[in-house]
């Protein structure tokens, strides 16, 4: 993510909501999302992955918050399951905006679907508008494609957390960071190898070799960890690149530690 100064406060001038609209200004469609939510996600959440959620109270009921999770699986199921968890378990169900790579906006078909399902390109300005101006929940995967394309042998090993752009975004929005540790997605669709030629031909971000054409029924555990407030470091902490890196590293370490704890407790990949 590129460095960007926070824009002046224009929160009072956000567009009014027109109730007759089918799609939000971000391109999110209540109808398409609702359909997925009631069918595929419902099935995956309750019966296929049998998701168990812990610490849902750490997701704030109001105001913006940046949710940070580990990322895995060839066709990552983690984002939709986290969104579903917040809708199902939270005392005040809220919509979650997932940040996705710019690649998705440029690829036919995905471009249409991902934004309808609540995906927003991971541009710092987008994250800032959502977090600060619209006070929404935003989910980021700082590992990006490095997380999803990693092979099965590297499972649950967190990759580099970008350049800490997500910390800067949270600091500028003065929104708390909620780390999330998610176990199960690695086994749901593991990657054993990559086919470089097909990747080139299809123009996708990667073309993996996976054991089955769909998700394997791994048991999911989602643990929301204690929020890290970002307004504790005085004015404009984002200019202190050292601090940004330290915080990013701390978030990463917390998730990694929690993953190890959860994996140690897990007796079976499929039954939990």
């Amino acid at each position: 993510m590129k460095a960007l100064e926070p824009p002046p406060d224009h929160r009072a001038h956000l567009p009014a909501i027109e109730p007759e609209r089918q799609v939000t200004d971000w391109g999110r469609s209540e109808r398409v999302e609702g359909f997925f939510d009631k069918t595929i996600y419902e099935f995956l959440y309750h019966y296929w992955f049998r998701v168990e959620v812990d610490g849902i109270e750490h997701v704030p009921s109001t105001g913006g918050a940046l949710l940070v999770s580990n990322h895995s699986g060839a066709l990552p199921p983690d984002a939709s399951m986290i969104a579903k968890a917040i809708k199902t378990e939270h005392a005040r169900p809220r919509n979650l905006h997932l940040t996705v790579e710019h690649f998705f906006k440029g690829y036919p078909g995905l471009s249409l679907l991902v934004s309808k399902l609540g995906g927003v390109p991971a541009h710092p300005a987008n994250v800032h508008r959502l977090l600060h101006d619209e006070e929404e929940l935003v989910l980021v995967f700082p590992e990006g494609a490095k997380g999803t394309e990693k092979l099965y042998k590297d499972r649950y090993r967190l990759q580099r957390f970008g350049r800490g752009g997500f910390v800067e975004s949270a600091m500028k929005a003065r929104a708390p960071i909620v780390p999330i540790a998610l176990v199960g997605a690695e086994e749901a669709m593991p990657i054993f190898a990559h086919v470089r030629l097909l990747k080139k031909l299809t123009g996708l971000i990667y073309f993996p070799v996976i054991p089955a054409p769909g998700y394997l029924p791994a048991k999911f555990f989602i643990r929301f960890l204690e929020p890290i407030p970002t307004d504790q470091w005085g004015d404009e902490p984002w200019n202190d690149k050292g601090l940004v890196q330290t915080v990013a590293e701390e978030v990463r370490a917390r998730i990694q530690e929690e993953l190890y704890t959860m994996l140690a407790e897990r007796k079976s990949v499929w039954l939990g």
Partner: protein, 346 residues
């Protein structure tokens, strides 16, 4: 405070509409319009001078009439409306000449309003969801029209920096839409089905023609230095636009080799210029909050603009046989304005 206003590009739709609007404004004392072609709309007290963008001639007019406000509405923002050479001449050279005519230490001009375009930001995969005024495009311009617009917009910014005493307002408009507006998008949305690129559903903002005129008028009468995005509330995806129009969204253009597809569409009479092709793929959103904060209120949202356009489309077959289009006749206009025989209400 009374104003002495010069409108460039009077023959364009914007020039004409703005002049009609300013004629009603009591504060506007003198209203002069220049363009190479005849005005296309009937005007009452606007004085028309047939002159292009020759800076020496413009400068003489500006000084002689002691013009304090110059409103530049000429910018060509749709490459289907003019050949590239003409567009370049208008957008880059024309803007340069007009700025040259307004500048200088002894210039009476205290205010310049420049009608720019959201094509300044381009349309790319890596764009933010909402462009704010200080953002630059992530990649260099792809089309000739876009690079011309960037050059013109930058020239105006440079002028503002060199002439701190002049209030320079740049309004970057999103795509315009309205009953009387003819551009690539109104043509595409007027088709029996709304064409698109397979696998894409781009985000769009449409500003109503009245809001464009309103924003220009607002900029002319208020102190509004700087750059402002002029786009109404609401960003719609193209499929929603189609459903508001009661039409089918038909993504018939191929996602790969789209330029070949648009070339083929051109053969059957559906013109999709390069900048529109980019928009059909990636779409664009502008953050309009700076202009709203300054006090301007948009009359219609994007959704209402599309609905107004849909209503006009339905009425079109019924209205077309109506009155004859306006034709400018210099002798008649001059007689009406200056002849002592004409009775004028004091």
């Amino acid at each position: 405070m009374s104003r002495r206003v010069l409108i460039t590009g009077l023959s364009s739709y914007w020039g004409g509409r703005l002049a009609q609007e300013l004629e009603k404004d009591e504060a506007v004392e003198v209203l002069i319009g220049v363009s190479t072609d005849d005005p296309s709309l009937p005007l009452e007290r606007t004085e028309f001078v047939r002159v292009g963008t020759h800076h020496a001639l413009l400068r003489r007019i500006v000084h002689a009439a002691e013009i304090d406000t110059v409103i530049d509405t000429r910018l060509i923002v749709d490459s289907a409306t003019a050949p590239p050479r003409v567009a370049h001449e208008q957008n880059v050279i024309g803007t340069m000449n007009i700025l040259a005519a307004c500048g200088g230490p002894d210039s009476p001009v205290t205010k310049v309003v420049f009608k720019s375009s959201a094509h300044y930001y381009g349309c790319e995969r890596d764009d933010p969801g909402f462009f704010t005024e200080e953002m630059r495009r992530p990649h260099p311009p792809r089309t000739r029209l876009e690079s011309d617009i960037v050059e013109a917009d930058d020239a105006v910014r440079g002028f503002a920096e060199r002439n701190p005493k002049v209030t320079v307002t740049t309004l970057r408009f999103c795509n315009g839409l309205g009953p009387d507006l003819h551009n690539s998008h109104s043509r595409l949305l007027g088709l029996p089905a709304v064409p698109g690129i397979l696998g894409f559903d781009p985000r769009y903002q449409f500003i109503h023609e009245d809001d464009i005129v309103g924003a220009l008028h607002y900029a002319a009468k208020t102190e509004l230095p700087g750059i402002y995005n002029a786009a109404p509330d609401g960003v719609l995806v193209l499929s929603e636009v189609a459903s508001l129009l009661g039409k089918l969204y038909a993504p018939l253009l191929p996602p790969w080799g789209t330029s070949l597809g648009t070339a083929a569409a051109g053969l059957v009479g559906v013109k999709v210029p390069d900048e529109v092709r980019q928009q059909l793929r990636y779409g664009r959103g502008l953050d309009n909050r700076k202009l709203k904060q300054s006090g301007f209120r948009f009359g219609l949202t994007t959704r209402e603009t599309v609905q107004a356009f849909a209503a006009a489309q339905r009425l079109k077959p019924l209205r077309e046989s109506g009155e004859a289009p306006y034709r400018y006749e210099r002798e008649v206009e001059e007689f009406l304005r200056w002849s002592p025989s004409v009775r004028r209400d004091e």
